[in-house]
Amino acid sequence: MELEFTAEEMAFRDEVRNFIETEMPKDVAFKMANDRELEKQDFIKVHRKLYEKGWATAHWPKECGGADWTPVQRHIFGEEMQRASLPMPLEFNANMVGPVIAHFGSKEQKEKFLKPTASLEIWWCQGFSEPGAGSDLASLKTTAVRDGNEYVINGQKTWTTLGHFADWIFCLVRTDPNAKKQKGISFILVDMNTPGIEVRPIITVEGNHEVNEVFFDNVRVPAENLVGEENRGWDYAKFLLSNERFGIAKIGVAKQRMQRIKNYAQTPDANGEKLWDDALFRARFIQVASDIKALEITQLRILAKQQGHDSDAPDPLTSMLKIKGSELQQATTELLLEIAGKDGESPQIREIYKTGNQDFEWLDAVASSYFNNRKLSIYGGSNEIQHNILSKAIMGF
């Protein structure tokens, strides 16, 4: 048993740290560190820098622009990015559609899409969920009907994250209405500029525009945009989702937020008192911290197993990381909300006080971040779905 990383892994970590320190935009990190919304350009700035370094898609197959990273390297990279409050390479490109095209796409699709997907010249969004197909994704109803060299798509997608920034959308569509549920689904790539597509914003509970509805009204897509075989889309989607769960616990984010909570709690209030001196508060803080530490080790145990077997195969235990990781992140936003108290009740609070004091830069986003982070236990397969997965795969129910 050995807790430490190897010398090579430590050297890699130092290289990542050094790169982040010298090359990464500080303004983006500042926004992230204060739980503020990022703009399109913020994501692009970070992603492009990583792309130039060869790190945006380092986990892709080597022949497709990957760097053959080990699971541990991939973990270290994620931890360091989160520790520095930076957004990961755009998930839709790097972890979702990119690997699907790399593994299942045609030669032409690889040539056309892989490079701009890796470099974020194309911004992708995900067209999976529908109003009637959330946790029960396979009940999706959007249809694609073959008409000569084209498919004609009709239907509606929803919860399309950052769809208003996107150039292309990858969709699950029903190509065989008579087949049983999962069997009749295909995976297709659609240009967002195609006539018949309409994107409408959904404003979420914290008041931000992050997700969208996407409507398809007789949208004609070249048949060559279908990935892999017709009616095998469900298999590709499962492959994609297994990639999505990698690093889903986002322990680096939880740790960074705990550090901030501690800093804020140690700052004296108007009466010169510190919340940190309240034993009840510290007891709550410690309970969350010990659970985060346990989850960090759980993640490393799963990682060490993958590394030992030299495998990227999805471990059903990653469902555990999703459940606990989301719960703990939510716990950290809850603690922040408590620290801010009534001072954190308005998203415009920064404008009002204009103290010029950076100590209070965080106040305005506290409640928004708390509201927004409730999504964590819902998306990516809700925590209840993750319980179902563990019930089947581990408990054998």
Binding site: E2, K255, L295, I323, M395, G396, F397
Partner: protein, 362 residues
């Protein structure tokens, strides 16, 4: 980074699993009289080399890392074998690092061989300080006071006592010393315990170094946590199997989603507890004492929470049968309940973390 046991440790694990499962035939905590003739169990454990693993080479032992002891503790937990290895380990780790005293080498040799037994006796009645405050006192080598929850039938005890200068020292006591009156009793988890009443009992001072005492306490705390994770693993498995075989409403209980999810939560708690116990065990011999203390208290807190959840839900999911003395799960439940109070309860460890300068190491 690697969390696998090496091939030697895997062999040790196999042989310990057999040894404690075998020992549990006569000494399972499911049996009212599991502590009868427990000295033969201690002797057999010594012959397995389990006591030698607690002493360094310089003292004639085989200590290489905490891991070997942790493997033993996990198997003790799984098998419900009634052997107080935590209290033994606590005493042995102190003795291994103690001052020299007349007869030390011979004493250690006799403990390693199993000829003699030793355990700590630190508890006192109505005193929840986990060793921080001690009423038992020592004056000119003579002890007066009362220790509770000591392991009955042991040849030697290490006790902590307040010395004339106000500091706490560790003293070696013979179980049959003059002036020592012993009252035996059995606890809910079938441990044979006793209260030690000291009336001018002669004792040998062996250690006054608070660093050694706190290291040994931390070692024993994590050892106990491993026993608990072993129990939780068994209890989760037992519950999972029960849900699959018990039929109600014409279907197995495992077909009900609410019960499936509860069982998954038991698994998650068990894995989280195991993770943090591993982490703390790997920091026990770390030179960074503060990091060790934080890791150990974090671990005990986290494992306590898991122990409560897993043991309570195991009883709940078993229904009426979980309430019966006949059912093995009920005995895991009892031992895990007492576990939460041993080696510092949540209040103790929360307070200890509160005293550390940097609770959150990042």
């Amino acid at each position: 980074m690697n969390f696998d046991l090496n091939s030697e440790q895997i062999q040790i694990q196999d042989s310990f699993a057999r040894f404690f499962a075998d020992g549990a035939k006569k000494h399972s905590r499911t049996l009212k009289n599991s502590s009868n003739n427990s000295s033969e169990l201690c002797l057999a454990a010594a012959e397995m080399g389990i006591l030698a693993m607690l002493f360094s080479e310089g003292n004639g032992g085989l200590y290489s890392s905490p891991t070997e002891t942790m493997i033993a503790m996990e198997e003790i937990g799984k098998s419900l074998c009634n052997i107080p290895l935590t209290e033994i380990a606590y005493a042995c780790r102190i003795l291994d690092k103690s001052d020299d005293f007349v007869g030390k080498d011979e004493l250690i040799a006799s403990i390693i061989s199993g000829e003699k037994t030793i355990a700590i006796a630190f508890d006192e009645f109505n005193n929840r300080s986990n060793g921080a405050i001690v009423k038992t006192n020592e004056n000119n080598g003579v002890i007066n006071g009362v220790k509770t929850n000591a392991n009955a039938g042991f040849d030697y005890f290490l006790i902590n006592a307040k010395m004339a200068n106000g500091e706490i020292g560790i003293f070696l006591i013979k179980g049959d010393a003059n002036g020592l009156h012993i009252k035996n009793y059995i606890t809910h988890d079938t441990s044979a315990k006793c209260n030690l009443h000291f009336e001018n009992v002669a004792a040998v001072k062996i250690c006054t170094d608070a660093k050694i005492i706190s290291y040994s306490a931390d070692f024993a705390t994590i050892a106990l946590c491993y026993e608990a994770t072993g129990m939780m693993r068994m209890l989760t498995n037992l519950t999972t199997e029960y849900l699959k075989t018990r039929n109600q409403f014409g279907v197995p209980l495992s077909s009900f989603q609410v019960l499936q999810h509860r069982a998954v939560d038991m698994l998650i708690e068990t894995e989280q507890a195991f993770s943090i116990a591993i982490y703390a065990s790997l920091l026990l011999d770390n030179s960074d004492v503060e990091a060790r203390k934080i890791a150990v208290s974090n671990a005990k807190l986290r494992v306590n929470n898991a122990a409560k959840f897993v043991s309570q839900q195991a009883v709940q999911l078993h229904g009426g049968i979980g309430m019966t003395d006949e059912y093995i799960g009920a005995h895991y439940f009892k031992r895990l309940t007492l576990f939460c109070n041993m080696m510092g309860d949540n209040y103790f460890h929360l307070n200890r973390l509160n005293l550390e300068k940097d609770i959150l190491e990042i």
